[in-house]
């Protein structure tokens, strides 16, 4: 996920110093994202180097420096927000590689892997359901939408596991039939 544009988005609301960026970013995601403070400072320095943010005001407590968006930073953020996301690289996750290898190495018997993967997805659905419930209780409608997106993706992953399992059974059945 782009921390670079996340920081630009937060600074578009008001100037912030590094630690404020960290806490606001984490609050934005309802506590589901743990941000490393070192990563925040490194990203701020790079944004400053690229002319997208600039220091503002005097250094405060313990040398804390606030940053604000430059006009170029505001344009870059606007362009990024208006650009649709490309499809995620769906076929590059480890689970796909495992399936391809097991299909070749274990006589095509995917049952164990699929059962374990199904449990992971079910548990994720349970956790996301609780998170959606929490977000609703807190009146965080934006976070609810985010979690609903994750839930829909996980439901699709589960359906795909079912498709793989059906195909695996059909293949095993037809091999059994051929040998009879």
């Amino acid at each position: 996920m782009s921390l670079r544009y996340g920081i630009l988005g937060l600074l578009a609301e008001q100037p912030l110093h590094g630690y404020e960026v960290k806490t606001r970013y984490e609050a934005l995601f309802g506590g589901t994202w743990d941000l490393n403070i070192g990563q925040v400072y490194t990203t701020l320095q790079r944004l400053e180097r690229d002319g997208l943010v600039g220091e503002v005001g005097e250094r405060g407590d313990r040398g804390k420096q606030r940053y604000d968006l430059t006009p170029a930073g505001r344009d870059a953020l606007h362009d990024w927000l208006q650009t649709p996301e490309e499809e995620p690289p769906q076929l590059r996750q480890d689970i796909y590689l495992k399936l391809l290898l097991i299909s070749r190495l274990a006589n095509g018997n995917l049952d164990t892997l699929l059962a374990r993967q199904r449990r992971v997805y079910l548990q994720r659905l349970k956790d996301l359901g609780e998170l959606e419930h929490q977000a609703r209780r807190q009146g965080r409608d934006d976070l609810v939408l985010l979690v609903q997106g994750a839930i829909l993706h996980t439901e699709a992953d589960l359906k795909w596991i079912d498709v793989c399992a059906d195909e695996s059974r059909r293949a095993a059945h037809s091999i059994g039939g051929t040998h009879q």
């Binding site: 506590g31 589901t32 609780e130």
Partner: protein, 246 residues
């Protein structure tokens, strides 16, 4: 722990034209107090499984025990009596009697089970209050929303204090908000000790509320997963850290 349901090598073959295997050697058990979801696509056998447990259908082979009773050898009359006293069933389309008020819909089930009217009325009124429809006791089903009708159906299912509550797609005919409320109610009923078996094709519902999810396909159980309690935010942080380590 006491087993409320015990199925041993249960098969069901329908012989209309070409023989069709709806259940293929199912063995499973459900302990008292559990909330188990049975999941699977249409035709996977999940509703047939529920019908076996409810005593609404008989297996071609195998043994079905519910609440300590072996249903296999029961006569039709004995099965009907078993259903009235041992299981409460909630269906997708409510199945309420439109000519009876809400209270009478609940009372009919109690009277059929031979419970005295005064005791039945007390239990029915308490259930309607718990399900937050006490003010609808004297109205007819046609005047209720889908969510309210399903609450009446749940009250009817529970009025005889059955050891087992079976729910077959209980939110299938409801909008998502009413469906969520019905599921929260069923979860609360389970939290008070009621054993619940939920049949659904909805993975989100199954995972959200059940402690255990049985997945079915082609009449067989393909997975029986016990889930951890929901971890919400914490689990996603863990997930993020694992991603970061890669």
């Amino acid at each position: 722990m006491t087993q409320v349901i015990e199925l041993t090598q249960v098969s069901k073959v329908y012989n209309g034209g070409a023989a069709q295997t709806a259940l293929d050697g199912i063995s499973m058990s459900v302990a008292s107090g559990e909330f188990v979801a049975v999941m699977g696509p249409s035709g996977s056998g999940k509703s047939t499984l529920l019908n076996m447990v409810a005593g609404l259908d008989r297996p071609t082979s195998g043994r079905v025990c519910v609440g300590g009773r072996d249903l296999t050898g029961l006569s039709e009359g004995e099965l009907a009596k078993f259903r009235r006293t041992h299981v409460g069933i909630v269906f997708q389309f409510f199945h309420l009697l439109n000519d009876l008020t809400v209270l009478d819909n609940v009372l009919v089930a109690a009277e059929l089970a031979g419970i005295k009217r005064s005791a039945a009325r007390q239990q029915a009124t308490a259930l309607l209050a718990r399900l937050e429809i006490a003010d609808k006791a004297d109205v007819y089903p046609a005047e209720l929303s889908g969510g309210q009708r399903q609450r009446v159906a749940i009250a009817r299912a529970l009025v005889n204090r059955p050891p087992l509550l079976l729910a077959d797609e209980p939110t299938g005919a409801l909008d998502s908000r009413s469906g969520d409320q019905i599921m929260e109610l069923i979860a609360a009923i389970n939290a008070s000790g009621q054993t619940v078996v939920l049949v659904t094709h909805d993975a989100k519902l199954a995972a959200r509320h059940a402690q255990r999810v049985i997945s079915m396909s082609d009449g067989r159980i393909v997975d029986d997963a016990v889930l951890e309690p929901a971890a919400g935010t914490r689990s996603l942080l863990t997930f993020q850290r694992e991603e970061a380590r890669r």
